[in-house]
Symmetry: C2
Subunit: 343 residues, 2 copies
Amino acid sequence: MTGTLSSHTAEATTPFELSALFEPVATEFKQVEESLRSNLVDDSPFVATLLSQVFSTGGKRIRPGLVLLSSGATLGAGAKFTQNHIILAVLTELIHTASLVHDDVIDKASVRRGQETVNRRWNDKLAVLVGDLLFAQASICLARLQNPAIVGIYGQVLGDLCAGEIKQMNQQFVCQVNWQAYMQKSICKTASLFSAGCHSGPILNLAPAETVEAMRQYGTNLGICFQIVDDLLDVTSSESTLGKPAGSDLAQGILTAPALFVLQQNNAASRELETLIKTRAVSQPGGAAVALSIIKDNGGVEQTVKLARNYASKSKDALKLLTASPYKDSLASMIDLLLERTH
Amino acid sequence: MTGTLSSHTAEATTPFELSALFEPVATEFKQVEESLRSNLVDDSPFVATLLSQVFSTGGKRIRPGLVLLSSGATLGAGAKFTQNHIILAVLTELIHTASLVHDDVIDKASVRRGQETVNRRWNDKLAVLVGDLLFAQASICLARLQNPAIVGIYGQVLGDLCAGEIKQMNQQFVCQVNWQAYMQKSICKTASLFSAGCHSGPILNLAPAETVEAMRQYGTNLGICFQIVDDLLDVTSSESTLGKPAGSDLAQGILTAPALFVLQQNNAASRELETLIKTRAVSQPGGAAVALSIIKDNGGVEQTVKLARNYASKSKDALKLLTASPYKDSLASMIDLLLERTH
């Protein structure tokens, strides 16, 4: 399963299992994919080319899929999907992609340290701009919805994404176990956008307040679970699966659940791990391998799986309020599919 | 005048002449200055520190000043400034500052080419984030206004800022004179935000459609004039006034009005200038100095001043519709003050 969910091959690289879940919204999903490439800012073909390039490099489109399923699951009796549901799904993916593009600028800067060429600088300049362009496109979509509540929700998401990145920077290489900081960072960096995507559709649908709240809970807990599973895979997966070396979070001093569970043990293992982190040995391939072994040998993986299951369970509970539908079934299956990655 | 408008000394480095224009909105201006530093995204003191640092490095606050004056000039009978006018002024300056911060990331990247340290990379990372943070704060402000029309206007501004930057990149070192491209770039990069700031206050005030349109015209033409004067000063000013070497646009192959007027002459001067640009000699101090002399000796400055006056005149015409008030007087004086920089 892991390999499938992480694969990047074609345009929307939605793997088979996810495609099956998105089946109830297949028509709308296709419209979203086309709209992602629309140039909303001007009539320049260059902007259209940039957008086309960004969205042809793949992406599983989990977030727009969730927007469509949450919208479908809360449509009023006899109501159908509207253009606004499509716009909502599009802007959710635009914001996600924008934040990835800006993360990329930062990461590339470190990779090519000391050997920057004019050509590379040109690309950096474009990447900062393309990220801003995607945020701008998202803002234009948001404006088209003409819904002040949703403008407020997504405004806060933009703040959360930045705050999450800053929280993560402030915690790098800090070995003192702080679960609250870890959870807050996960909510800001990941769960906030999941939550926005899952409860804004119900708001568009004028769903009852308790339905909106249930979908907010579903999205938040699914997002936290998603981040925990991502953190776990950084420890348990291979480079071929991840597309980057295993332990790359650890190498950057980003301490996630698997490491935190070991660090809080106050024993020989925790002290050895702490030394590897504090001396920056984790940033070297040899040290990273030792640290990953310590984590795996001392229950870091098992306890993290348990933590992920806990949030998965909360997410599933939130769905109880919904009436039965293929959309609801897919929302539930999404949780199971996510947990399968931990196997 | 030039020296005063360009000085950077304290917090809001509004020079004396501008302060006098902002006198009718002095109380509101102070509230804006305080609000710029409010952390709207979370409760982290670090975010507050970042914002405080960004806004303590100066800035003339022309855009929020214009928002307040335009709002004041179109208040209904007996109406007073509200918190929404302050928020509008704040978000306008937030967007301007965010775009400057991202420009900075790009510029700094070239300055420290090949000598990047971990400390410098850290700063780059922070600068991308801080720009995003400022855009996020602006989005949160925008949401608080609960006004779909204004959300739409500012969404388009974000798109214009990116489109303008991309248009500029596409025209670098292109010697074929294209006035339309130059004007479009100036509108996107500068006039769009001026326009948004000047006509959104009237929208908040529920001013008549023709008043809103007049203020949009005022802002657009003032913004174009502002950009032309800025382009002119890059040719006519000294490094001590500009805070960067004269001719730095030209050195980057950014061809603005003064150069375009000479390039279109199809004579010995235009051919010499074209050669300096095409061979990238303008990117060296010696070549830049020769190019600046050619521009000055062949009427590039005088024709640019005339162009600026043309837009200044259109901007002033747009004010005729307004009833007399100290706010209107200041809006008119703003145009004169801007033109004084060309002396």
